[in-house]
Symmetry: C2
Subunit: 192 residues, 2 copies
DNA sequence: TCCTTACGAACGAACGTTCGTTTGTGATAG
DNA sequence: CTATCACAAACGAACGTTCGTTCGTAAGGA
């Protein structure tokens, strides 16, 4: 394949980029075409509709996080270490797929009701991974007994999901340092 | 018959509501008119432009947070207590002005470059309040010496700004409990 | 020869906004 | 107490533009 023609994946990627930057409703099909050197109408050779593009980007985001949680939990180990794994995995997904993640976090509410509720369900499942690890730590005594697993998982995920809003890879905080800082911050409130 | 006529403030309020719910670009002037029982064109008796509406809602949000920080710091006291005041104030603003805050947090990036940079500057000033209180706590020895004030203020603000995304006033977590949980979570990572 | 890719014109709908007109209301003058 | 007036609020048609999408057609590799 020599010719630099565009594939469906190219379109979805560009959509993730523009949706992240200008929002779903702030991005037109003609904008998206321009990003790929095409006319807006040409995109319909690759994609069913604009909404279809959003669905694909958001579902890719959901899948990335789900896969990350599965990998983090598969290793097993003590709750403290597992939580660190979950945090490191989440940060890896955010930093490795910024546009997809931004779209996943900010534009999922623009989906039609059916797709949106599936995404919300996926998010809840993902949050459960954090909740369960924290609850396990409370049960086995490695975390404080007055910890509310649901609230703490929300707090930790709030920090993790905000990273795309402020983090700059070229800044003074490296990726490993970021993982450590977030983990230490989260665990300080949990450790007995 | 008492015709409930609309004022400029009514329009701005309704705009905050719809911008929060469907996003700036997802809200049309006709949507906004319908919300008030008007035609879209009638709004121009109260407002210069759609962008103008966004400016007013976002600047109201910026002002609310700024006023909250001023009030929290005016009381003085130890860094730990001041941080609690900042957190309580922030949560008060979020819970008392949900739509304005949601628009402030999510739609400010849709502003034109000039207004957007002013909002970013205001946000940075607000974050400085948190940074300075944390730095003061490090200096006077009430917080751990290896705390990075900038990172920790970002983490705390991440938790605070995410509240509008998940908190339900009718849920099991009351407002005072929320303030306590967030404060304890934040201070656990700071206390030596 | 297919099949994929892209074009470019065109569609109807919706967009933000303008404008001349109508409506209701409160103040004022007789 | 009523008639008149000014004015803000709202209407509704219309503007030029952009929207998402469709379709017939052309090009070029497999």
């Amino acid at each position: 394949m020599v010719t630099a023609r565009n594939t469906r994946q190219d379109v979805v990627e560009a959509a993730g980029r523009l949706f992240a930057e200008k929002g779903y409703h702030g991005t037109s099909m003609r904008d998206l075409g321009r990003e790929l050197g095409l006319l807006g109408s040409s995109l319909y050779a690759h994609v069913e509709s604009k909404q279809d593009l959003l669905v694909h980007v958001v579902e890719e985001g959901a899948h990335l996080f789900q896969a990350s949680a599965s990998a983090a939990l598969a290793a097993g180990g003590a709750p403290g270490g597992q939580l660190r794994q979950l945090i490191a995995g989440h940060i890896g997904v955010v930093l490795g797929n910024r546009d997809v993640v931004r779209t996943y976090l900010n534009e999922a509410r623009m989906l039609d009701a059916e797709h949106r509720s599936r995404v919300i369900a996926a998010r809840d499942t993902y949050e459960q991974a954090f909740r369960h690890v924290i609850a396990a730590g409370v049960t086995d005594g490695s975390f404080r007994s007055d910890v509310d697993p649901k609230l703490h998982s929300i707090f930790i995920l709030s920090i993790l999901n905000a990273i795309e809003r402020w983090y700059r890879p070229e800044g003074r905080v490296g990726r490993n340092r970021l993982v450590d800082e977030v983990s230490d911050f989260a665990l300080a409130a949990l450790k007995r």
